[in-house]
């Protein structure tokens, strides 16, 4: 293949992601983004200038060698692109769909300084999807068995990533999952239309082929205690996430029709309530209000729309610029007809005589001085009360650390929010017990959890070698 010049590369415009039409997709659960065709992917990859010192990689929590895999795509060498990507990232078909590229890799791309950055996320997704269809052309080597056993608690992004890395190093890994299906937030939280469950299942199967064992229905803290696992394994990695919903603590929160986003999304995703054959019920009201401005709020709102709500409003106390959600999610939600009640603070959930939700009473806000997070602090405007009429309120205000495991292990040092404290290697106050992902960070992103999984896997490997040496 002839070498493409920089000038030629600069001439190519950023390709667009084909997607389902908004007016059609807001009534189905099929994936919104359809993926790039091969020729389009190659063209997009050719936009990459192959910087000698690529900045994009420094923004990636799992250090994907972005320019390398993109170079292979530009050459049309998909097996090499896939092997490069899979070597760095255990779940590329997931991150290619859910990562906030605009604040991580793409924002560092030099092409973005004058125009649009290379669509790194689209290309990652393209290569990962190619890999899912060509498993036979990809062989992953696993190191010789080390004889070491490692327990991973939780099968979400942090746990799965660590499990994959540790298995490749030859360790025997068992993952314990509390629910009946592995994947954690990838299966109970993120909706089908953004991350199809079949893709998560395929990524997990690939890890199982590396030798990772997964046991479901095991609640560590109940079925087994942490000290018991510590006895049976050479090291333990706690990655049980931030599975405790936040409510607003306003009057009316126990009315019928008030859900945490965790409950609503779990009913619809994990329990497949969108499928008429599924047995788990979920309310399908005509009007819904979703409180919050993050990805989970967007997911809940877009799900409610697909479940038949005619009007869905996102109620958020700051402005659109302050929303923590990915830009693409906000954009997609708007396209699908989700309304935005910005600068609105819920103060009470109103109910009928029969105690069903009838509305959400809010105060208008104005933005004041920046607060500790750097975002402008919203302040209520006196006397500005108004009501968002709705039959369902979903609280999507983030999750906190679930105390089920930590309460049964007083030796584990926690911070004041109940998150597990770790050193720079990811080790907790108990030697040999590591932790990462949301149980350490508080609710964050899939990719940060995966970064923790990857880094902690290295630290666990080092720890096991040191322990072995010190025993000799």
């Amino acid at each position: 293949m002839s070498k493409i010049t920089v000038k030629e590369r600069l001439k190519i415009n950023r390709q667009t992601m084909p997607e389902q039409l908004a007016t059609i997709r807001n009534a189905n659960f099929a994936e919104v983004n359809l993926g790039l065709p091969e020729q389009v992917a190659i063209m997009e990859a050719q936009r990459c200038l192959q910087c000698k010192e690529p900045k994009c990689m420094s923004g990636c929590p799992v250090n994907v060698n972005i320019s390398q895999f993109i170079d292979f795509v530009a050459q049309g060498n998909m097996p090499a692109a896939a092997l490069s990507l899979l070597g760095d990232n255990a779940l590329p078909a997931v991150t290619g769909r859910v990562c906030p590229q605009e604040t991580q890799c793409e924002c560092e791309c030099v092409r973005g300084f004058k125009g649009l950055p290379v669509a790194i996320g689209y290309l990652e997704r393209y290569v990962a999807d190619w890999a899912r269809g060509h498993e036979d052309q990809l062989s992953t080597s696993v190191a010789a068995p080390t004889g070491k056993k490692i327990a991973v608690i939780g099968s979400g992004p942090a746990g799965l990533t660590a499990a994959g890395e540790l298995a490749k190093l030859g360790h025997a890994v068992t993952v314990y999952e509390a629910l009946h299906q592995p994947g954690g937030v990838l299966v109970y939280g993120i909706p089908e239309f953004r991350l199809p469950k079949a893709i998560v299942a395929q990524e997990i199967e690939r890890l199982q082929r590396l030798g990772v064992k997964i046991e479901c229905n095991i609640i560590v803290g109940r079925t087994y205690t942490l000290p018991e696992l510590k006895e049976r394994f050479d090291a333990v990695f706690i990655a049980n996430g931030a599975g405790l919903p936040t409510f607003m603590n306003i009057p009316g929160e126990n009315l019928k029709g008030v859900y945490s986003a965790n409950e609503y999304l779990t009913r619809v995703n994990l329990m497949a309530a969108y499928d008429p054959d599924a047995q788990t019920p979920v309310l399908r009201p005509a009007r819904a209000a979703v409180v919050g401005g993050g990805n989970v709020a967007m997911d809940a709102a877009r799900t409610a729309k697909r479940m038949g709500a005619q009007r869905v409003a996102i109620v958020y106390r700051r402005g659109k610029a302050e929303m923590p959600a990915r830009a693409e999610e906000v954009h997609h939600a708007e396209q699908e007809g989700i309304e935005f009640e910005l600068l609105s603070l819920p103060v009470e959930i109103l109910g009928s005589e029969n105690r069903w939700v009838t509305g959400l009473k809010c105060l208008r806000m104005q933005l004041g001085e920046p607060d500790a997070s750097g975002r402008c602090r919203p302040e209520p405007i006196p006397g500005s009360e108004f009501v968002v009429e709705c039959d369902m309120v979903i609280s999507a205000l983030g999750s906190r650390a679930n105390p089920l495991l930590t309460h049964t292990c007083p030796d584990l040092k926690l911070d004041k929010r109940g998150n597990i404290m770790v050193d720079d290697k990811g080790m907790t106050s108990i030697p040999g017990v590591f932790a990462g992902g949301d149980i350490v960070r508080g609710a964050a992103t899939v990719i940060l959890a995966m970064g923790d999984g990857k880094n902690t896997a290295k630290a666990i490997n080092d720890y096991l070698r040191i322990v072995q040496v010190s025993r000799i």
């Binding site: 479901c216 965790n262 409950e263 019920p281």
Partner: protein, 280 residues
């Protein structure tokens, strides 16, 4: 997979299943429950662990067939397997090791009271059980409870034991004095009535709540209950609470959230009338 090794019909709509679950049989304690999912597409439903046998590695589930999911569960036969059984969930029962405990069970609640009575007896307390049902055929677990102490049986129609509700028999026991604690488990109106009854006597009263649940690990918050002006999650903070502090109005109201949907599901469920339960 968890094989069903034995099955028995305890009353017209209450079935006992002994299910293989060796780890749970070994560690479960009175008051704890499991989340059961029959198979692909089935609902996750919470069920109290009524008994266990660590030698055979089985736990006992006692199921009242009320909706589509529970009907499908009780339609299973020995040899078939339940796909998912997760637990043990919830806090174990707060026990007393001396003194007199009265265990009040209404309907299928008697199955939940039984492991508590067993644990109380093992701990050293004297146990009196008060159990009830509409008529003789609805009274369950009397022989098992007789092994643990005195049993007062009440039926609404007087076809067996005393005629009347469990509340009357409990009132008499309270009036006679010497009751240190009451455990009341059954339909919400019964638990409320018992809690109201014991309040003037100042006798500590434990009730077991059964709100709608999904995961059972505190993740979804669907099982919110009001206890002493605070919102608690029954799955991780309970399921047993101080009956004098529980907001029973809120509990019974939230239990009706899916009533219409459930009725629709029951009407179209295959086998809804196969065993004639809809005629009872």
């Amino acid at each position: 997979m968890h094989k069903i090794v034995a099955k028995a019909q305890l009353s017209p709509n209450v079935t006992r299943l002994d299910v293989e679950a060796p780890r749970l049989a070994e560690i479960r304690r009175a008051g704890q429950f499991v989340i059961v999912r029959r198979g692909e597409g089935s609902e996750r439903i919470p069920l109290t662990i009524a008994d266990s046998n660590s030698a055979s590695g089985t736990i006992t589930l006692i199921i009242q067939a009320v909706g589509r999911s529970t009907r499908e569960l009780v339609a299973m036969e020995p040899g078939e397997a339940i796909q998912d059984v997760a637990g043990p969930l919830g806090h174990p029962t707060e026990l007393i090791s001396s003194g007199h405990a009265v265990c009040v069970g209404g309907g299928v609640g008697t199955a939940v009271v039984h492991p508590i009575a067993q644990a109380l007896r093992r701990a050293g307390a004297r146990v009196t059980s008060v159990i009830g049902g509409r008529s003789r055929e609805w009274v369950i677990m009397e022989p098992e409870l007789r092994l643990l102490g005195e049993v007062v049986v009440c039926t609404d129609d007087g076809s067996y034991g005393r005629k009347g509700f469990v509340t009357e028999a409990t009132r008499e026991l309270l009036a006679a004095g010497g009751v240190d604690i009451v455990y009341a488990i059954g339909p919400v109106p019964m638990m409320r009535a018992i809690a109201n009854l014991t309040r003037p006597f100042g006798v500590r009263t434990i009730v077991s709540l059964n709100p709608v649940m999904v995961d059972g690990t505190g993740m979804c918050g669907g099982c919110r209950v009001g206890v002493g002006n605070e919102t608690k999650f029954a799955c991780v903070d309970g399921p047993e609470f101080d009956g004098h502090l529980v907001d029973f109005d809120l509990l019974s109201d939230r239990l009706t959230t899916y009533r219409e949907l459930e009725q629709a599901a029951t009407a179209c469920a295959p086998g809804a009338c196969r065993v004639g339960l809809n005629k009872i």
